[in-house]
Amino acid sequence: MTATLTPEAPAKRGGRLRRHRSTLVVGIGLAVAVLVVLLAGGAGVRSAALDPDNPDPAGAQAVARVLEDQGVDVTVVRSADALDDTEVGADTTVLVTSTDQLGQSTLDRLVDHTRGARLVLTEPGRGPTRALGLRADPQAVTFDDAVAAGCADPSYSGLAVAVDDGVEYDVDGGCFRGGSGALLAEPRPDLWLLGAGEALSNDQVLRADNAAVALRLLGGRDRLVWYVPSLDDLVADDGVSLQTLLPSWLRPALWLAAVAVLALMVWRARRLGPLAVEPLPVVVRAIETTRSRGRLYRKAGDRAHAAAILRGAARARAADRLRLGSRPDPDTLVRDLARHTGRSVDEIAALVGPTAPAPATDHDLITLAERLAELDEEVRRP
């Protein structure tokens, strides 16, 4: 029973390496992935919707590229300062995407700077429209079919826009009118609100006449300034989203916490050795066979058999009690029982006699069992 363990021979080392090969591969793969993300992160690809440098389905790189090919001078600006530095004149269209990032101050600077130019805002919400002093309530809607232009402006005549979700502006006039307003509204001269922002996205631009509408709306002037506003430009007084109120380190800290939780799980999940197993004994209840025999009687509904057994057992007990030997004559037994209990011979014979009829219903069987038990009690009483 004494076992001595010597340090393992080095020959086993190779085996251990092979055994943990999958773990090694996964670990190295993870490390490489982390490195790649670290090195490649922030290399000019943007992820915001309708961003001119975003090649994803939700981006708008396609429209930007096509406009450039059509000879439009596309300038992308990503901050209010950069916009201020860009020359904007009457030959310029200023397109603003990510309008939810606009605040009062950036909007004011935008309007100030783009005086005289054509200004296109994609899907501005209630905040920007109010800030601009427009009476054009935005209403989010979903569409099943393309929406025809149906407006006086000849540049869109005969065209149709197809988008899944859009924003309709409750104004007079405007093009691509739906139930609650127009998808393309011009509430003020040279200020366009484009409710069908999806029409510019990479994956929807080819639907219906989306491309034509985009080109005519944005390619009408020689230059296009594509302004992607940033929350960083907002000043303290602006009404801003919750995100800007939170400290900037919160998101990375949450990531770190998630990794820490993962490490916690790894720490707690590692058992100190394998589970202790118990060779389990066979558990058989001795009464099991009898119970299953009872269930068998029940299933077969064999009242006659059950009643015969119960009567036989009652006779055997009574014979034992009245000291009539192990195999008494049934008639003698019935007679003696009747004398002992003071009941009539017929009644006793109908109850325990070997020729007594089998119970007709389940209820009769229960009654029989009860009356046999009563009889047994009476016989026991001296």
């Binding site: 076992a3 670290l38 100190l272 118990e278 009872g294 009687y297 057992a313 229960i366």
Partner: protein, 430 residues
């Protein structure tokens, strides 16, 4: 390998770095740095193979009594080791405090003790020793499990030992050491002594009285040096549980009490246990330690799901000697098993020996037979009456063959069997 709780803490410390430089890249750099530290720590951790573990034999203990096992641990490496060691046993061995802190200087040795409280009869085995050694930084650890065999033998509890004193007192009455001296069949001449009032006048030895000035009586003692053969059935029928105890364990209890009693009465006790084959055999134990010897022999017996081969068991009984003996068959009175297996070989046994069948009765059967409230219960009662009837019939057949049947509840069987033995002894029927 394993990591310690310091790793998540260290990762959380990175929040400070993130506050100073709030960028996503900081997170990954920090995680990478921690991973690197863990890897370095793991590489520097001593190998668990440098810790040598030995286990001296554990020994034997009665079921329900505490035992302990020791591990001799030595550090054969050249570096100090720190970590945890777990001595893993099967759960029914009831190990307590099986995790030990390890801190060994090079060449140092230590003794680790684990308390065991067995909850099951039989051989309880150690499953393995896991050693987890931390690296110098306490971040990562190397872990290995290896077998360090050990067996704790847990003996049958012998609950019925409480009945022994009263039965021994009855034995002494038979023995003639008490005031009442009985002369009768089955007793043999012991000695002569002076007559005192109260003695049976029939036991006066007139010839001896004639030579003396006083009246002399003969004293008698019960016959001695008889053989008792206990046959324990470990077949499928013994696996059935009455209450929560297998019939086999109750039968063991009865066998132990009878063996202890018979050994005190000066009889020799043989023991055979088996089902299809003989699993355990003890010959001619007659000292006071017979109960211990039998407990040892019974310790690792478990019910087996096979039919008993009574011809083989009867052969084993015959093989123990031709001398007339009291053969006690400890087997449940299961009609089909008894009628098909036991009955054919009984005549050969009864021809040479006095045979007693001791069976554990299931009180649940009578409760089942007495219930008659619902339809299910009535059908169950019918089934129970049928089972009882067949048991009675089987017992009758056994008695017809000259076999005594002791059928009692699990609690009552040991004293009932002992009483039956005393009755046989008093009547000299051994």
């Amino acid at each position: 390998m394993a990591i310690t709780g310091r790793v998540p803490l260290l990762l959380l410390l990175g929040v400070a770095a993130v506050v100073l430089r709030p960028e996503q890249g900081t997170v990954w750099l920090w995680v990478l740095a921690v991973l690197l530290l863990v890897a370095v720590d793991l590489a520097l951790a001593p190998s668990p193979a440098t810790v040598v573990v030995e286990r001296p034999p554990v020994g034997t203990v009665r079921l329900g009594h505490p035992a302990s096992t020791r591990l001799l641990v030595g550090n054969q490496g050249r570096r100090r080791v720190r970590g945890v060691l777990r001595d893993s046993w099967q759960p029914s061995a009831g190990p307590e405090g099986d995790r030990h802190r390890l801190a060994l200087a090079p060449g140092a040795r230590a003794v680790l003790q684990t308390t065991l409280l067995p909850r099951r009869r039989g051989d309880l085995r150690a499953l393995g020793v896991t050693v987890r050694l931390r690296g110098p930084l306490g971040l990562a650890a190397r872990q290995r499990t290896r077998p360090v065999p050990g067996t704790l033998r847990s003996l049958p509890p012998f609950e019925s030992r409480k009945h022994l004193p009263s039965r021994l007192a009855r034995l002494r009455e038979l023995d003639g050491r008490a005031a009442v001296r009985v002369r009768g069949q089955g007793t043999e001449f012991d000695s002569l002594r002076e007559y005192v009032r109260g003695d049976d006048v029939r036991s006066i030895d007139w010839r001896a009285s004639a030579r003396n000035r006083t009246v002399v009586v003969r004293t008698w003692q019960p016959e001695r040096d008889r053989r008792v053969v206990l046959v324990l059935d470990t077949s499928r029928t013994s696996a059935g549980r009455v209450g929560d105890v297998p019939r086999l364990d109750s039968a063991m209890d009865a066998a132990l009490l009878l063996a202890a009693l018979a050994a005190r009465a000066g009889d020799r006790v043989d023991f055979v246990a088996g089902d299809r084959r003989v699993r355990s055999r003890v010959r001619a134990a007659r000292s006071r330690g017979v109960a211990g010897t039998l407990q040892e022999a019974m310790a690792d017996l478990e019910p087996v799901i096979v039919e008993a081969d009574w011809a083989a068991l009867a052969g084993a009984v015959t093989g123990l000697g031709r001398q007339r003996a009291l053969v006690v068959l400890l087997t449940p009175l299961e009609p089909s098993a008894v009628e098909e297996g036991l009955l054919p070989v009984l005549p050969a046994l009864t021809a040479h020996h006095r045979v007693v069948v001791a069976s554990v009765r299931d009180p649940a059967l009578e409760q089942l037979a007495a219930a008659h409230g619902t339809l299910d219960e009535v059908y169950d009662a019918a089934a129970a009456h049928r089972s009882l009837g067949r048991r009675l019939h089987t017992a009758g057949m056994l008695r017809a063959l000259g076999v005594d049947v002791v059928d009692a509840d699990a609690e009552q069987l040991p004293p009932a069997l002992a009483d039956h033995y005393l009755a046989l002894k008093a009547r000299g029927l051994l």
